[in-house]
């Protein structure tokens, strides 16, 4: 699947996607010029905090943000068709059919008043012209496929009679009813117990191998994508700030935000003495995002001109498939990551590399419009 010819024709190609929601307080730039690709049969992990635009970009793929009065521009090419330009009725033939989606909270995502079987049967019959009986058979088969025991009986139960993990399995079964080419999984394990999380991820992996579908895995949890994803896109404030294969990203992350994400999760191999380092501050407003690099107010390494210059997502000179949107010099980034890898705090790393602290840097730059950066930790 990674041959150059198939890479030239991805299943899904999102180009400069922008999604804006006009509100009373101003225009929310939920997705601000995002581009990514998903190859057939592969998994793309989209990682970011809540409010980074990862869910909105995926809902937009299915046309589900249209009803909320969103302004959408850019292109979403799926199998050669531009989903942004399709009419609602054309899009409906793709939704739940060629592209399916599962959501974070399986309990609230299933209709509480309809039997699980009825909801599956409906999903089958929207896109396939089959009898109720045949659809029911298919529903039972699907429940079996996702590992629900005794599907003949379970098919007639209501969602509230299922456990959390079972509900998510039922959601997955529903998403698979028409054998989609692409499955979008929006935080599929966030609402579940840790042990159940692992089961659901294993199930998704198994199903992907059996059915050959591509998966977009949206999550805030790098642990989840580490297990599943072939490629990873890190989103921040409506943009992709780093994009690479999973191996590359975990071996040599380039963006300070990605470093922050990696340093804020515990590892089994790391020393216990090594403290977890949270990313200071909170995600920025999407109505008035910070000028320049959107991450600069929270970045421990930000320099005066970072508040002015808006970094573009650019491939690394020596690794074209690895893209990053950061204003620091590649050599500086490499040294910083090495320092962090040795267990240094961001401040120590910055001092060792010889970068001025953001506050001093700002003061010496005498930039009258610069935002006061938040220096936490």
């Amino acid at each position: 699947m990674s041959t150059p010819s198939s890479a030239a024709e991805p299943l899904l190609r999102v180009e400069d996607l922008r999604v804006e929601f006009p509100t009373e307080d101003g225009v929310v730039h939920a997705v601000d010029g995002v581009s990514y690709e998903v190859q057939r049969g592969r998994t793309l992990g989209i990682v970011g905090e809540s409010g980074s635009g990862k869910t909105v970009s995926s809902l937009t793929t299915l046309g589900l943000t249209r009803t909320q009065g969103a302004r959408i521009s850019g292109r979403i090419l799926f199998d050669g068709k531009d989903l942004v330009a399709l009419s609602e009725s054309e899009l409906r033939t793709i939704r739940g059919n060629e592209i399916a989606m599962i959501f974070q909270d399986p309990l609230s995502s299933l209709h509480p008043f309809f039997k699980v079987g009825a909801q599956l049967i409906e999903a089958v019959r929207v896109h396939q012209d089959v009898s109720k009986g045949a659809a029911r058979k298919r529903a039972i088969e699907l429940l079996g496929l996702v590992g629900i025991p005794d599907p003949n009986r379970r098919v007639d139960e209501y969602p509230h009679e299922f456990s959390g993990g079972m509900r998510q399995r039922a959601m997955i079964a529903m998403a698979l009813s028409n054998e989609p080419q692409l499955l979008i999984a929006d935080e599929p394990t966030t609402a579940l117990d840790v042990t159940v999380q692992a089961q659901i991820l294993a199930l998704l992996e198994r199903l992907q191998q059996e059915l050959g579908m591509a998966i977009v895995m949206i999550t805030h949890d790098l642990g989840v994508v580490a297990e599943m994803a072939d490629d990873i896109a890190v989103m921040y404030a409506g943009r992709i700030v780093e994009n690479a294969s999973a191996e590359t990203l975990f071996a040599g992350p380039e963006h300070p935000y990605t470093w922050g994400l990696l340093k804020s999760i515990p590892t089994l191999t790391g020393s216990r003495a090594q403290p977890l380092v949270p990313i200071s501050g909170s995600p920025p407003s999407l109505i008035n995002p910070p000028p320049g690099c959107h991450f600069h107010p929270r970045c421990p390494y930000s320099q005066p001109d970072h508040a002015r210059i808006d970094p573009q997502l650019r491939p690394l000179p020596d690794a074209p498939s690895h893209q990053v949107a950061c204003l620091l010099e590649p050599s500086v980034r490499k040294r910083l990551w090495d320092e962090l890898g040795e267990g240094k705090t961001p401040e120590q790393a910055r001092a060792d590399v010889g970068l001025p602290a953001p506050a001093e840097a700002l003061a010496s730059a005498a930039d009258p419009v610069g935002d006061a950066p938040e220096v936490g930790l």
Partner: protein, 320 residues
């Protein structure tokens, strides 16, 4: 489920006894006109009054009277006799029931249909001019007293006194079995008047409930399945949003069955409300007592039906 229904029915009986006790207190113990005197006629002979008092059992102790009253109702459904015509109240009420049922059930069909349609349209176009216009109209209709609305409609559309002679006016009611076409035309205006306020309430209720439901995660799932927007709203959305309507529908019908006094009086429909109105003006207490008991029974019954319906509508209630 059966146990649940039985429990609810038993509670209904307990409630009915409480209502009976309350009625007994109101009509027998609290100071009212002496029933015996009321029945004695113009020439008030103390001997006759004493006789009547004995016949009515009013010379017995209050607990004994209550026991007889309860026994009569539970064993024979005996509601007593009119002071004026001496006719059994039970019969009077049953004779009047068809007219009231016609009025209320026909009205319910209209208010359900219009209220729900407007509610759905308003919810789907929340904030639009259409939505604001219908919600404004609804507010006016909710606030308009029924008798005033009734008089207004008669003033404009009644075939005898109206500005435009379209519908048969007050007093034109005939039974369904006598002449179905006349039954229908005579009830059009009363139906509209009975339905107006309730339809407005239902429209507002459903609008709010549907707007809330349409924001639920499972609606997003329904859309993600590729269902048409029509099916998403009418099947998935309405199925949840309708629950509060079911709750109020039962109670509304029941309350109206017992108390459609104003509309029946304005349109001169020989229903229970009209019976009650005339009885009140004549101090014919057994009839008043009987109609009130009837109304209470309807409400109790409606509550039980609503609870059972609710259990069927919401599977989560059914099993808990």
């Amino acid at each position: 489920m059966t146990r649940y229904i039985i429990r609810r029915l038993l509670w209904g009986v307990v409630l009915l006894v409480l209502v009976l006790a309350l009625l007994f207190v109101i009509f027998r113990i609290l100071p009212t006109a002496d029933p015996a005197k009321l029945r004695a006629g113009r020439i008030q002979n103390p001997k006759i009054i004493a006789e009547i008092r004995h016949d009515l059992g009013l010379d017995k102790s209050l607990p004994a009277q209550f026991w007889i009253y309860i026994k009569g109702i539970f064993l024979h459904f005996n509601l007593g006799y009119s002071y004026y015509s001496n006719a059994p109240v039970k019969e009077l009420i049953f004779n009047r029931l068809p007219a009231t049922l016609s009025l209320v059930l026909g009205g319910a069909v209209i208010w359900l249909f219009t209220g729900l349609s407007i509610g759905i349209i308003s919810a789907r176009r929340a904030g639009s001019k259409l939505d604001r216009a219908s919600m404004g109209t609804a507010l006016v209709l909710v606030s308009a007293p029924e008798f005033w609305l009734g008089l207004l409609v008669l003033f404009f559309f009644a075939s005898d006194i109206g500005k435009v002679h379209i519908f048969p006016g007050a007093g034109s009611y005939v039974g369904l079995t006598t002449a179905p076409d006349k039954w229908f035309t005579s009830l059009i205006m009363p139906w509209v008047v009975v339905a107006a306020g309730t339809a407005a309430i239902y429209a507002r209720l459903l609008r709010g409930s549907l707007i809330e439901t349409m924001g639920e995660d499972y609606i997003r799932t329904a859309r993600a399945k590729g269902l048409s927007e029509r099916r998403v709203v009418l099947r998935h959305g309405l199925r949840s949003a309708i629950n509060p309507i079911v709750t109020v529908l039962g109670i509304d019908i029941a309350v109206l069955l017992g108390s459609s006094v104003l509309v029946e009086t304005v349109f001169d429909i020989p229903g229970i409300g009209r019976l009650n109105y005339v009885a009140i003006t004549h101090s014919d207490f057994p009839i008043v007592q009987g109609t009130v008991l009837f109304a209470a029974m309807f409400v109790i019954l409606a509550n039980i039906i609503v609870d059972i319906a609710y259990a069927y509508l919401d599977p989560r209630v059914r099993y808990s």
